[in-house]
Amino acid sequence: MAVNYDPALINKVFEITEPVEVKAEKIQRYCAALGETNPIYTDEEAAKKGPYGGIVAPPSFAVTFRNGRHFFENVPRFGMRGFDAGKDVEFVAPIRPGDNVTLSSHVKEIYEKTGRTGMMVFVVIRSTLKNQNDEVLAHIDHRFMNRP
């Protein structure tokens, strides 16, 4: 049985968030919570001599931005229970303290798969992070699994 959905859902940007300023202090707290010690993320002096000429956030910091108020309202559901199945993140450019980051999100794809536990419908939402210069920082694909 093929999954039915409105094809107009695909690729339509449903939300762009307000810009969020990346505070140096938040990067520090993020590093502390993960036990991060790499000086290019934690030590301003050492980072100046590093490949980015100053502190940058660890790449995974990209997934910490809030998805926006209407994000979950726009994730198509298929009358079943939903789970966070995983993420696929493409890191395009480093995130730096002082950056103002916005996220725009759209439905990238909807597909079904039959696994050990039966039929599942996957909904992939792509969020793109940009900075104040309209440069792409990262693409984040959120994979949500729906199961009966």
């Binding site: 790499n38 790449p59 997934v63 995983g86 696929d88 993140v89």
Partner: protein
Amino acid sequence: MNSFEEINIGDTLGPLELFVSKDQCRAYARTMGMGEGAGRFTDDEAARKEGLPGMIIPGNMSLGLLSKLVTDWIGSSNAWLTRMSTTYRVPVQPDHTVTIHGFITNKNPEDRTAEIDVWMENEESERLVTGTATVEFRK
């Protein structure tokens, strides 16, 4: 870290052994500003009410720890983690030791990238989170 020319398929990253405490898990959830509905990441009782065995580590925190294995390996070189893909297989519980492993599965000289399988195991060697990473060795 080794140069692109020096790495080989089959090389391993880590293992990185970590004891993730409940407080560390709460600190992560707080830093991320997780509010309503984040009880499963901060409170055993709230997690049990959702049918979980107790508090669990946020999926994004697992993604952060798997990424850390790769960025520790990169160190302060200009190699760049271009992609990280994760699958959450089994809920990860804090106050346990987890081990994070990596293994180079492919090396592409055309774009100077390496593909790496990464995964997080519990004390019973059960794979809780699996993933793949791509690193580009920039000149």
